[in-house]
Amino acid sequence: MSDFTVEIRVMPRASLLDPQGQAVQHALQALGFDEVGSVRAGKHLVLQVQAASRDEAAAKARTMCDRLLANPVIEDYECTVSQ
């Protein structure tokens, strides 16, 4: 077994209103960053996971996302594994 670092990015579905991202976008534009076209705000989780392989760590992380870390009705997620 080895230790892996799993980084999980959970984002609200692109089709859904993201008021937090919009508020940040408006704040950036108020600061003069007119080049900002859109902002979406999500969550970034970093897990230390023990697994036999990188693939197993990724599979475990996806199961965790499906069961708890992301809500499939409203969110999408991506996992990246490093050692």
Binding site: P12, L16, L17, P19, Q20, A23, L68, L69, N71, V73, I74
Partner: protein, 238 residues
């Protein structure tokens, strides 16, 4: 008299009001702690409002894995009556007992004030004492009340008449189709964002919420709840 289990999570804060409202309606109501897996022969389980587990990760996401949810899920799957109010509604959605999800209010602000809602379904255990189309004033108190569901689910909700409450005059949180409450396909599980337990007596500013709890007892003869009396399922203002 119905046995009503009011489930208490760490962070529930409407549990006492909900217990009082159920008792005022004539139910035999009692608390069940989130670590219990026994609803003690409940006829109905109510998941009250609050901020279970601090709303960490997503509202209701962690409460959904409490031991008591196994009992609530078994109760619901067997046709037992379940009501989720506010955070309870969020938990029932996270648990998959109700369709859809509740997201951050469209204008981000936490909203705590009375709103107008319309009763669109009266064939549920918690709304049967209302008239269909009746408009109520009920308080809301939530930061995550924007109901969303995918297009197919939304179509099913509409086709099956599963929208129980809808916001009227204004949509405070950006909910899809002004949805303030839904039920499952079996109609035994209901989730609503407004707080009926906070408006069940004139001394609280109104009693439009009382019949949510009186509906459970509506088949019983005569019950008192604050200033409201239910007789044979009909309500009389006194």
């Amino acid at each position: 008299m119905h046995r009503v289990a009011v489930v208490v999570f760490p962070g529930s804060n409407c549990d006492a009001d909900t217990l009082d409202a159920a008792r005022a309606a004539g139910s035999d109501a009692y608390y069940v702690w989130h670590t219990s897996t026994d609803l003690q022969q409940a006829d109905a389980a109510i998941l009250p409002g609050g901020f279970s587990y601090g709303d960490y990760l997503r509202s209701g996401a962690i409460a959904r894995f409490s031991p008591v949810l196994r009992a609530v899920t078994a109760h619901a799957r067997a046709g037992g009556k379940v009501l989720g109010i506010c955070n309870g509604f969020q938990i029932l959605c996270e648990a998959g007992l109700l369709p859809g999800a509740l997201m951050r209010n469209a204008r981000l602000k936490f909203l705590s004030r009375p709103v107008q809602v319309r009763v669109d379904a009266t064939d549920t255990p918690f709304t049967r004492s209302y008239e269909r189309g009746e408009e109520l004033t009920l308080p809301i108190a939530h930061g995550d009340g924007r109901y969303v569901a995918d297009a197919q689910t939304a179509a099913e909700l509409a086709a099956n008449g599963q929208v129980v409450l809808r916001y009227v005059t204004e949509n405070p949180n950006g909910s899809m189709h002004d949805i303030a409450g839904v039920c499952n396909a079996g109609r035994n599980v209901v989730g609503i964002m407004p707080h009926p337990e906070r408006r069940n007596a004139l001394v609280l500013g109104g009693q439009d919420g009382a019949r949510v709890f009186l509906s459970l007892e509506a088949r019983n003869a005569t019950q008192h709840a604050g200033d409201l009396r239910a007789v044979d399922g009909r309500h009389l203002r006194v």
